[in-house]
């Protein structure tokens, strides 16, 4: 099947092609300005915050901002800034983790005058944020994720994240008590520590309520694959699982499929309660508005990361209101609510530690020895590469 390109008549076409291309490009904008008069834009010195002045904050999302999930949670957090009169926020969605995000960050700084940039996806950090941070030492870069390391990364970079696995623990309690078959399902994107921590917390919470519960995990391979997520949800339901939760960018498909299969669901990132009026139990949601407002106030007061006025690492859980739980759905029993609230109170006052020994993984190996406790901030949890006992599935 040829393409019908006729080489004989195309000789004339070729010169025409080059000409037309050249003229197309230049006609696209008179090029007189390009080479004359425009000195290279100053790369340092733009965007230093001064106390009390209007602060421009730039937000970058890796996916669409109304995805009912991860990106939407960040967008809602940014919208929470609209109450603050001195903040101007700009946002760009669907920016892939390539040079595009570098370009976007540069544009926000040079064209919009942003003094603080919030790239919200993990993959933006290395090399993109690090490169830009070196080019613009007066702009603050706040990355969502736990990757900042003192002494290694530039001083104008900071990290923030939430211990959402606390909320998953409580969601697990509710799931464990509501499930009739004692089988839970978890649809996850990739076996990275953040995700594994959620799976483990969910399972530990469920098992604290019902020690015989198991969680079956399916990895779809990527953050947003609706067809695979639907397949996974159906396969799990076929296996007799009656509570589904997930860690993917947009839980919409999983929750809707669970509702269609008439099983329960637990949400993530944002509230998907409206999608599953019968089966939605609760969900682990972000509350980024707290974080962003705090940053905005610090920036307004003229504080920066470089001078130490703003801490480099900000983390929080339920206590600091970085996260919240969705409202309980109609299927949640009073007993489940009581137990969940009790656990929540213990997490907020610090008396409950999720990861304490002795803890075995699902191959029987001891991963946390008896007597040892790993608190939320413990760096060891960031390197998690195991699935706790009670989880059916493999990490690699």
């Amino acid at each position: 099947m040829g393409l019908g390109v006729n080489s004989r008549s195309s000789f004339r076409m070729r010169r025409r092609q080059v000409l037309r291309g050249l003229l197309a490009t230049s006609a696209f904008g008179a090029t007189s300005q390009i080479w004359t008069g425009c000195s290279q834009q100053p790369e340092a010195g733009s965007g230093s915050p001064t106390a009390g002045q209007q602060v421009t904050m730039g937000f970058i999302y890796v996916g669409p901002k109304d995805d009912f999930g991860y990106n939407q949670a960040h967008h809602e957090g940014k919208e929470g800034l609209s109450k603050l009169a001195w903040v101007k926020s700009v946002e760009e969605a669907n920016v892939p983790e390539t040079t595009s995000v570098e370009e976007t960050m540069r544009n926000m700084i040079e064209q919009d005058g942003a003094v603080a940039i919030f790239p919200t996806s993990f993959g933006y950090f290395d090399p993109h944020i690090l490169k830009l941070a070196k080019d613009y030492p007066n702009v603050q870069f706040f990355h969502c994720g736990g990757l900042y390391q003192e002494g290694i990364h530039p001083k104008n970079v900071g990290s923030y994240f939430g211990y959402i696995d606390e909320a998953q623990y409580i969601a697990g309690i509710v799931a464990g008590l509501t499930s009739k078959a004692g089988k839970l399902g978890f649809i996850a994107a990739k076996p990275i520590p953040q995700v594994l921590r959620n799976i483990n917390s969910f399972t530990l919470g469920a098992r604290s309520a019902n020690p015989k519960v198991t969680t079956q995990v399916i990895f779809t391979g990527d953050w947003s694959l609706p067809v695979k997520e639907a397949e996974a949800a159906n396969s799990l339901a076929d296996q007799g699982i009656d509570v589904l939760t997930c860690h993917v960018d947009s839980p919409k498909v999983v929750v809707e499929t669970a509702e269609r299969r008439k099983i329960f669901s637990s949400g993530y990132h944002a509230s998907q309660a409206s999608l599953a009026p019968n089966g939605y139990l609760t969900g682990a949601e972000w509350n980024w508005a707290t974080v962003y407002s705090q940053y905005a106030e610090w920036l307004n007061a003229g504080k920066t990361l470089t001078d130490g006025g703003i801490p480099h690492l900000i983390r929080g859980g339920l206590k600091e209101a970085f996260l919240k739980l969705s409202d309980y759905g109609p299927a949640v029993s009073e007993d489940a609510k009581k137990m969940a609230e009790a656990a929540k109170a213990k997490l907020m006052d610090g008396s409950l530690v999720v990861y304490k020994g002795e803890l075995k993984d699902n191959t029987g190996k001891v991963v946390i020895p008896a007597g040892k406790e790993l608190k939320q901030q413990d760096v060891e949890l960031e390197k998690m590469n195991w699935l706790v006992e009670g989880v059916i599935g493999k990490v690699s």
Binding site: S7, L23, K190, S396
Partner: protein, 377 residues
């Protein structure tokens, strides 16, 4: 080149593309008008449309800053476009650019990591060669399947795309994974010193030079060598070429390998100039955009370079539409589609307007039998 004969057709080659672009801009402006429309204030809505135009220009070509953004985006597109443009001369429809980029990137990172911290130039040359080889083998296989088994090259290259991406994910998440790259599985990073730098005085990496060189070499190869001539002939009529004794099979595989190696080089540039490691970001849709560039440029390598810059400019202006006008990111896709549809339509306008048809040369005047009266007599 300042030959002013046939000035009409030369003018045509200028006016028609310019008119096409202007028309596409007008269509897009109408689209934006309705989207941004504020029924209470029509005048302001119209003014906003012109502001949108201004922003697009500013973000694409309007300053040195913007031009660099455009060039950075154009570099991988040029190399990727060659992966479709070259085999098209032979009459093959290959869309495996994405797969070739991915395997090229994998080969480059594997080579770079194995060689480690040695002289940057040696490492870069080795990575480039590895990428060229990997990409060449990948698409060369498509050509071989076509020649020896008659497998349709469009399908096999499309399937190989998906297979390459699966391979990338499997390797990056498995054997090649850097254990410390916890949250975004990647390979180990290249040593800082061996990474491709930027062209001095700019932010643009050397990938742009590779792209421009590759386009120039491809053009020369196709237009001015016997190999290229053989390829074009075979592309025009396979049977005639066979009868003439041209080694069609060898030509097929060789051209496909060359095409694949160009795309593989794009993968190497992504790894060595941008990311420093291989991970899922290698699969960034440059392949697909490259196909579009190749077709718009009618598979001419030089035109492909120019069209790549145009597409880079359009893509670079997407961000400003989102941030300043709250237009959704899909707007730039609509604009892209409009520009290319109108430009494609304009292809059919050549030769239609009488204004642009060259007038026939006046018949030669026969010398008079008798000498004319001499004026100086």
């Amino acid at each position: 080149m300042l030959n002013l004969n046939h000035w009409r057709s030369k003018l045509e080659a200028v006016v028609i593309p310019v008119a096409a672009l202007l028309f596409a801009l007008i269509l897009f402006g109408i689209f934006c008008f309705f989207v941004l429309l504020d029924p209470k204030n029509i005048g302001q809505s119209i003014a906003q449309v012109f502001q949108v135009y201004g922003s697009i220009y500013k973000a694409a070509f309007g300053s040195w800053f913007s031009l660099q953004n455009t060039l950075i985006r154009a570099a991988p597109l040029m190399l990727s476009a060659l992966c479709t443009a070259l085999p098209a001369r032979l009459g093959l429809g290959i869309i495996g650019n994405e797969g070739a980029i991915v395997v090229g990137g994998l080969a480059a990172i594997a080579t770079g990591l194995t060689l480690g911290n040695i002289t940057p130039l040696v490492s870069q040359v080795a990575m480039a060669l590895a990428a060229l080889a990997a990409g060449g083998v990948w698409i060369g296989a498509v050509g071989a399947l076509r020649h020896y088994r008659g497998v349709n090259e469009t399908i096999s290259s499309l399937l190989l795309n998906y297979i390459a991406i699966a391979l990338l994910n499997q390797l990056v998440n498995g054997p090649m994974k850097d254990p410390s790259s916890l949250n975004k599985p990647s390979t180990y990073p290249l040593p800082e010193a061996v990474m491709l730098g930027s062209i001095p005085g700019t932010r643009v990496h050397y990938g742009l030079i590779y792209g421009l060189l590759a386009c120039a070499i491809a053009y020369f190869l196709i237009q001015h060598t016997t190999f290229g001539f053989a390829a074009r002939t075979a592309g025009g009529n396979v049977k005639a070429a066979r009868i003439a004794g041209l080694p069609v099979g060898k030509l097929t595989i060789l051209i496909c390998a060359l095409a694949g190696s160009c795309a593989g080089l794009a993968g190497m540039v992504e790894v060595a100039a941008v990311h420093g490691r291989a991970n899922e970001s290698l699969n960034a849709n440059y392949g697909y955009s490259g196909i579009l560039v190749a077709f718009i440029a009618r598979h001419n390598p030089l035109a492909a370079a120019v069209v790549a810059i145009l597409l880079g400019g359009i893509l670079a202006s997407g961000g400003i539409l989102q941030r300043n006008y709250q237009l959704p990111d899909a707007t730039i896709l609509v604009f892209q589609g409009l520009v290319f549809l109108v430009v494609l339509y304009s292809e059919s306008l050549y030769g239609r307007f009488r204004l642009f048809r060259d007038r026939p040369a006046p018949p030669p005047v026969a010398p008079l039998a008798t000498a004319p009266p001499s004026l100086s007599a």
